[in-house]
Every structure is written in structure tokens, then in C-alpha cells.
């Protein structure tokens, strides 16, 4: 079932989930893979591609999933508004049920909380669904959620600027709000806890300093920005757009007024982007069907490129950095091992 490619990447296995893959992720230990599809299928697969279980079908499509960073605990949600939590050997827990699409899910870094955006409501729950807090009537649908590194605050991407909430406290009002007239599509908090980055509908990336709220933006991208990623050291922010990936250097005073490094090697639009954890590697999948990998500290040209035959929609590195998981618009997920 495995096949070598000219790029040094070896396709280990492929699974078909019938429709556009909205998310595919490794568990914290790399032992399991979970993938969600617009067909409504949400499947858990072993590291060698064998089906472990199919979660209950999500009517109208599965839109989001996230593994706990501390255990083999998986959260899945979608257009039916039900947030489910699965663990090996345990019954599936319904953590929330809302009359709205759930398209954003994120566990806190300590695994103690799960945040979900359901329409205009931000929901924060504990893994056993024993304690649920909700923050309703936000200015618009919550497009993405992100946690601060200390797991104390969770951020909702909502029109009018990101809003931060503290689920450990009883206050309903946001602990912090960074006002901005625009629509943020993807949030990424820097691992060092200093910055919040947001890919935006208005073809820009917006940056806020935590927690002063001082902000700046990088404009001039040819597309709306849905692919952003911090390097593990928080030194670089990679931004995927059409035809290139820009890397902004946050050393010293930050990238304001500087020119980014530009990674090349494809012409389509980036669907997803991810840094490896330890190795200096950056990967992207594009809508012209490529998986591209760079060693960005050495060169702006790729070290590997593979044509996947369908637009790439999602991407994740194995915790050991020696494999990547690629989901496509035609419903396949493939594990590639780096040779």
C-alpha cells in the first residue's frame, strides 16, 4: 500500500471519507488519527491506517475536531450543533447541543477545558461536560477559538475584534477585547504568550500584543488569509496566501515595517500550513493539489513537493516530525512519511 515518490516522501496509507476533509489531526502521542468530512463522517484511525471507530454521523457535515494535548480524548462537532467527546473504551459524551453550526473547537493547553464556537455563542466545557459556561450574543458567528498558553483565557474570533474570556471566573463580560472593524477567520496565539495573530477576510493579517492590545497589520495579500502558523519558538509567523508563503520575523521589536522572507515553489492558494515541532520544517497544502515542504532556515525553495491530485484542505505534522497527514477536497486523508 505504500509507495515512494521522487520527493523523498513516502505515502504510507490513504483513507477515503467521501467528501471534503475539514480536519485531520494526530493525537498528542501520535498513536491515533482523527479526521472529519463534510459527508458527516468522523473517523478515528490507528497510526498505520486501520479504522478504530466511526463516531456517530454528523448530519450535514463534520466541521471541526481537536485532540486534547494531554490525552487520547477527542472532540468533534459540525453543522448539527452537537459537540461530542470520545475516548478509547469510553461511551461518547455529548458536551453541548446548540441550534447553530459548530465550526471551531479547541482544547486548552492543559487539557482542562474545551472551547467551541456555536453560532454567536462561545461555549467552554470540561471534558466530562460537568461544568459548562457559555458566552452568548457575540457580535457575529464565532469563526475560530484560541487559548492563551497558560490555559486561563480563551479567545473568540468574532466581528468587531477578538474577545477573550476567562472560564475559571464567573464574569460573563470579556476579560479583554481588541476592537477592530473587520472579520477574523483564523486565530493563532504565539506559543511564547506574547502575540495573537489573526488571518482576516480583508486580505490582511492582524497582530495584537498580549495583553496591551497594541496592534498592527500586514496588508496587500491577494486573498483572504485562512492559513497562519507560528514557529515553535514564536520567532516566525508563517502566512499562506496565493503563490507564496511569507515568514514574518518577530525577533527584537517585531516585524512592523520589515520585509518578510518569501517561500516559493507553488502557484495555487494555500489551504493549510504547519510547522514541525522540533525540526526546522514548514509544510503547506495548496488548492493546486500540492504538498510542499521547506527547510525555511536554509532555503526559500522547497525540499519536497508532491502532487496530491486534489486541492489540499488540511495538514498536520506527526509529533515526532517524521510524518505529515494531508486531507483533500475530494475526501482523502494520506499519511506521508519523510524519507
Amino acid at each position: 500500500m505504500s509507495s515512494a515518490t521522487a520527493s523523498g516522501l513516502r505515502s504510507a496509507w490513504t483513507l477515503d471519507l467521501d467528501d471534503y476533509i475539514t480536519a485531520a489531526r494526530w493525537s498528542f502521542d501520535g498513536g491515533l488519527v482523527a479526521a472529519a468530512s463534510l459527508s458527516g463522517r468522523a473517523a478515528v484511525v490507528s497510526g498505520n491506517g486501520a479504522l478504530v471507530t466511526d463516531l456517530p454521523t454528523l448530519s450535514m457535515g463534520a466541521l471541526a475536531l481537536d485532540w486534547s494535548p494531554r490525552s487520547q480524548r477527542l472532540a468533534v462537532a459540525g453543522q448539527d450543533g452537537v459537540v461530542r467527546i470520545w475516548e478509547p473504551g469510553e461511551p461518547v459524551v455529548v458536551a453541548a447541543q446548540e441550534p447553530a453550526w459548530v465550526e471551531a473547537l479547541a482544547w486548552s493547553p492543559n487539557g482542562a477545558w474545551l472551547a467551541a464556537g456555536a453560532g454567536r455563542t462561545l461555549i467552554v466545557t470540561t471534558p466530562d461536560a460537568g461544568s459548562v459556561r457559555d458566552y452568548p450574543d457575540l457580535p457575529s458567528t464565532v469563526r475560530d477559538v484560541a487559548w492563551s498558553g497558560d490555559s486561563r483565557r480563551v479567545c473568540a474570533a468574532t466581528y468587531g475584534g477578538p474577545q477573550w474570556f476567562e472560564p475559571g471566573r464567573t464574569a460573563d463580560a470579556p476579560a479583554s477585547h481588541f476592537p477592530w472593524k473587520g472579520s477574523q477567520l483564523r486565530l493563532a496565539a504565539a506559543p511564547n504568550g506574547k502575540w495573537l495573530a489573526a488571518g482576516s477576510q480583508d486580505r490582511s493579517v492582524h497582530i495584537w500584543r498580549l495583553w496591551s492590545g497594541d496592534d498592527f497589520q500586514m496588508t496587500g495579500y491577494p486573498t483572504k488569509i485562512e492559513a497562519i502558523a507560528w514557529s515553535p519558538s514564536s520567532r516566525f509567523l508563517a502566512v499562506g496566501s496565493a503563490g507564496d508563503v511569507t515568514m514574518w520575523d518577530f525577533a527584537g521589536r517585531g516585524p512592523h515595517g520589515t520585509t518578510p522572507r518569501v517561500l516559493e515553489g507553488f502557484s495555487g492558494k494555500v489551504g493549510a500550513i504547519a510547522y514541525a515541532r522540533g525540526a526546522p520544517r514548514l509544510a503547506a497544502v495548496t488548492d493546486d493539489a500540492l504538498l510542499v515542504i521547506w527547510a525555511p532556515d536554509r532555503s526559500t525553495t522547497p525540499i519536497a513537493t508532491v502532487d496530491r491530485g486534489a486541492a489540499g484542505s488540511t495538514l498536520a505534522w506527526h509529533p515526532s516530525d517524521d510524518a505529515v497527514l494531508v486531507g483533500t477536497a475530494n475526501g482523502t486523508i494520506t499519511r506521508f512519511d519523510l524519507g
Binding site: 471534503y20 463534510l38 457535515g61 457575529s140 458567528t141 472593524k181 473587520g182
Partner: protein
């Protein structure tokens, strides 16, 4: 897109469209769940979310909910032929229309066909006499069709290409001539006519830069261009920063030339002409 006052007959028209044997798969996006249960029609509930883009530029105000719903629909393997957006009585149709131009993903895969406004003939005269808020005009250049209980030839309102530049040129051969009446003396127009073949690689950044830096001043731009290596005429139009361009029909027995018109304030004719000339191959 179907608009109209409360009780004017929007749902009657929608039902008429959905029950017709047209063989098309139609998605209906409504602000509230209607009572329509028609085979082959997927009805989706939308919550009107108005987003101002580009720091509040009015022409860049879009419907965030539509971007999300349409984006999700276009990803599905299960394809559809048409989308009908039914707006609430009080919704502004402009952000719906602008969504089709501002979001590049939607612009690439969908085209705004027409805005159909349903008017109750018995009540319309009263409304026309009501006091108007500033900036609202009742005058329209739209085609008017009369109907009872929405009994109308659907070819008159579906697939009509009302936003198609091709069609605008056919209906109005003077489309590229500045005929907009203006009360403001500072508003001028600059027309450029130049032979030669345009290099698309140079044109895109030039137009993008010009429209984004002078978005407030440039009300309207339009043009027909000769692109190097392209057998078809290339047409573009823009309203402020909203920009649409595509190849249209092949060049016929006519001079292959470039004609552009810009209407707005503070337009520098010489600089525009020079910078466009630099886009020629």
C-alpha cells in the same frame, strides 16, 4: 437574490420558482426558516451578519453569513446549479450583492445573476410618496415585469445575467462612454484609448495598486482590453475597490484596441495614461 417589502409576494415567487420543472438543483438561503418543503431545494437559515471591510469602506460592506454558508456549500461534492438568497424586508440588498465581488472564493465560483425586487402594485404608490432618508432614491433603471401571484415566465428573472458586463455592453453600446450625470464639479472622467497588447502580469498589480490607493476617489472604472496571447476581449469593471474582470467574446472584425474609463475625483490624466502605457507588452 429576491428582495421586497413585507407581504409583497417574495415567498409566492420563490414557491413558483421551486415548483417549476426546470431540473435545476437550487439552494435557498433565507433569514428565517420558511414553510417551503420542496424536493431538490435545500433551505438554509442565515443570520444576517453585516461586515464592513477595508476600514469601513461602504462598497466593501458584505454579508459574513453568506460568505460562510456559500463557502461551505461550494466545498461539497454534492453540487448545485443555483442559489437564491431571499432577504428580509428590511435588509439592505447592497451587502448581499457586494459579497459576490469582495470574497475571491465566491467570485471565482459563483456569479450574481440578478436582483429581483417584488413590489405590491396596490401599495407601491403610497410607499413612493413616503419621506426618504438621505441618499435613498426611488428611481431605477431596472426592467419591470407585471405579474399576478408571481405567474411569470421564469426566463425573465432567472439566468438573465443582469450583472454581466457582456450584456451591459449589448444593451447599452455607450456603456464605456461616461454618461453619469454629476452634480459635483470636482468629479471628472478620464478616458484612455490606446493600441497595443496588454501584459496581464503588469496590468493586475497596476490596477490593484491604483484602485486600492485611490479607492475613495475612483467611483467607477470600466474597460475593454487586448491581452497578449488571448483571442478574446478582456473586460473589467470596478466600483471603488470592487473589481471584476474576465475574458468575454472573441475579437471580431474590429480594431483590437484598449479602452478604459475612470470616473472620480483627483484623477491625474497624464499619470494614468503613462502608467497604463507601461502595462503594454
Amino acid at each position: 437574490m429576491i428582495t421586497g417589502f413585507l407581504g409583497s409576494g417574495k415567498t409566492t415567487l420563490l414557491n413558483r420558482i421551486l415548483t417549476e420543472q426546470h431540473g435545476k438543483r437550487i439552494v435557498v438561503i433565507e433569514n428565517e426558516f420558511g414553510e417551503i418543503g420542496i424536493d431538490d431545494a435545500l433551505v438554509i437559515d442565515a443570520d444576517e451578519e453585516i461586515f464592513e471591510m477595508n476600514n469601513g469602506c461602504i462598497c466593501c460592506t458584505v454579508r459574513g453569513d453568506l460568505i460562510r454558508i456559500l463557502g461551505n456549500l461550494m466545498r461539497r461534492r454534492d453540487r448545485f446549479n443555483a442559489v437564491i438568497v431571499e432577504t428580509t424586508d428590511l435588509a439592505d440588498p447592497a451587502p448581499v450583492a457586494q459579497t459576490f465581488f469582495v470574497d475571491e472564493e465566491i467570485n471565482a465560483q459563483l456569479a450574481l445573476d440578478a436582483i429581483v425586487t417584488v413590489v405590491d402594485a396596490r401599495r407601491v404608490l403610497t410607499h413612493l410618496d413616503e419621506e426618504r432618508t438621505e441618499g435613498v432614491e426611488n428611481e431605477t433603471l431596472a426592467r419591470m415585469l407585471r405579474a399576478e401571484f408571481a405567474a411569470i415566465d421564469l426566463d425573465e428573472i432567472l439566468g438573465v445575467g443582469a450583472f454581466d458586463l457582456d450584456r451591459a455592453l449589448e444593451l447599452d453600446p455607450a456603456f464605456l462612454v461616461d454618461s453619469d450625470h454629476q452634480h459635483d464639479q470636482s468629479v471628472t472622467s478620464v478616458a484612455i484609448e490606446m493600441a497595443g497588447e496588454v501584459d496581464l502580469q503588469r496590468l493586475d498589480p497596476w490596477l490593484g495598486e491604483f484602485l486600492s490607493t485611490q479607492a475613495v476617489d475612483v467611483f467607477r472604472s470600466k474597460g475593454i482590453l487586448t491581452i497578449r496571447g488571448e483571442e478574446r476581449r478582456f473586460v473589467f469593471q470596478a466600483v471603488h475597490m470592487l473589481f471584476d474582470s474576465r475574458p468575454n467574446r472573441p475579437w471580431r472584425d474590429e480594431p483590437r484596441t484598449n479602452r478604459l474609463v475612470f470616473i472620480g475625483r483627483n484623477l491625474d490624466r497624464d499619470a494614468l495614461t503613462r502608467s497604463f502605457a507601461a502595462c503594454l507588452a
